[in-house]
Amino acid sequence: MAPPDLRYTKEHEWVRPAGETATVGITDYAAKQLGDIVFVELPEAGRQLSQFAAVGVVESVKAVSDLFAPIGGEVVEVNGELATRPELVNEDPYGAGWMLRLRLTDAAQLDELLAADDYDELTREG
């Protein structure tokens, strides 16, 4: 079950809004589908991201997967820990496995994202 306080994309990213900023990561479902994650490539701090643009890469042993920005904004922080411990994404996708912190361009973009119930529905079918 996806945590109820987050918003989701169909591409399996999550967003945790907190005022003008938001934290971004990939869902537990995505991490499980990818398998053991061994490499994460994230955009540098300061970069401006457009909503739904490909901004990074998540690689498991077998697969390479794009990371999309679930919401537009400026990167204010990246989870540097993932450079040496990418397995945190599997172990704690909604916590220690977070990827980006963004200063939001337009909080209204959150409305384009899925609520937890809808995301759970999507991944049940998927």
Partner: protein, 373 residues
């Protein structure tokens, strides 16, 4: 989560499929077969094989038996190796090539008796190898019996393999050398027990009748639990063989590649008398030198090289990656690649094109990993 129902209708099904499903395996189509990709996770399975032992279902491999007065001579004509030189109970790595020297498949040939051989082919090529052998054995007093769909293959690989398998068989495992094979029983079931594998570890491959495969699987799994044996899927099989520097057909080997390109010229027995298919072309490659060279790469920058990524030297294109992964044992990204022969010396710095970056990579000797003895 894998929707295997579509594949299930068209793929061959392993006799152990119900075992894999009960173990929660993620299944994939591979070489026309529905097989386990992973059970727990690839990294965990990989480490189990390096540190303890793993159990593999390799029932997708092709088993072709060749028997008769001229079985050895016929195989010597069909393949690049000389099976007549094998002692009974021994095996060697071999290849079947096209007349132009291109590799049709890589094989293991076991000599089971003076006039009886087992040729093991890759799943995706088994039909083609079977057809080619049938064609090339014409005129030889030898019978080809394709038992791919009647023979299951279960492998036990890892440093604890002897300890696990020993109590289940009367075959004297300590006396069974690397690349040797013996007929015997495993858990009471008739089996060919071979000391071969594709992981870089010590271990055994057990050829058994299709109908008895599940009993052998269950017995080995039960016997190995206490020392930490786990079932291992094709995902970890790939990372294990890559660390061990072993080629995979479709990645390092294909019809556009000769054994010499792949650094496996030693497999081709050019000094023997008699013709074999591909001989003239391979003699020419041996004389002139191959057009490309298979190398090992260790990434010296951030990024994982993958199949198909371009390789350059100082900005000039030199080749492409054939296989690449993050090495679970060495904790660095490793790859194999074909490059121009002049760019293949160990220590040469190359670049791999990973998305929009050129990531430095160093040519290193193969294999990446050698088991402690």
């Amino acid at each position: 989560m894998t929707d295997a129902s579509g594949i299930r209708a068209t793929a061959h099904l392993s006799p152990l499929l119900d075992r894999h499903e009960a173990l929660g395996a993620k299944l994939i189509e591979f070489g026309g077969w529905l097989m386990p990709l992973q059970y727990g996770g690839i990294l965990e399975e990989h480490r189990a094989v390096r540190e303890r032992a793993g159990l593999f279902d390799l029932s997708h491999m092709g088993e072709l038996f060749v028997e008769g007065e001229e079985a050895a001579a016929g195989l010597g004509y069909a393949l690049v190796t000389d099976p007549a030189a094998l002692a009974v109970g021994r095996a060697h790595y071999s290849m079947i090539c096209a007349p132009d020297g291109g590799i049709l498949d890589d094989l293991i040939v076991y000599r089971l008796a003076e006039q009886r051989f087992l040729v093991v082919a890759n799943a995706a090529n088994a039909g083609r190898v079977s057809d080619k052998l049938a064609e090339r054995l014409r005129g030889f007093r030898a019978i080809l019996d394709d038992r791919s769909l009647a023979t299951a293959l279960v492998a036990v690989q890892g440093p604890r393999a002897v300890e696990i398998l020993g109590p289940l068989t009367e075959v004297a495992l300590d006396a069974l050398r690397y690349y040797a094979v013996a007929e015997g029983r495993v858990a009471g079931i008739p089996a060919l027990v071979a000391r071969t594998g594709y992981t870089g570890e010590d271990g055994f491959e057990l050829f058994v009748d299709w109908e008895r495969a599940a009993a052998v699987w269950d017995a080995v799994l039960a016997a190995g639990r206490s020392v930490g044996l786990v079932p291992v899927g094709l995902g970890a099989r790939d990372t294990l063989r890559l660390e061990a520097g072993m080629p995979l057909y479709g990645n390092e080997l294909d019809e556009a590649t000769t054994p010499f390109d792949a650094g496996l010229g030693r497999v081709v027995k050019l000094t023997r008398a008699g013709d074999f298919i591909g001989r003239a072309a391979l003699e020419k490659v041996a004389r002139d030198g191959p057009a490309k060279r298979l190398v090992g790469l260790t990434m010296r920058g951030r990024g994982i090289a993958r199949h198909g990524y371009p390789v350059g030297r100082g900005g000039r294109p030199t080749g492409a990656v054939t296989s690449g992964t993050q090495s679970p044992t060495l904790a660095v990204a490793i790859a194999m690649a074909y490059v121009a022969p002049a760019d293949g010396e160990a220590g040469t710095m190359l670049e791999v094109g990973i998305r929009d970056q050129h990531v430095p990579a160093e040519v290193v000797p193969l294999p990446f990993y050698r088991r402690p003895r």
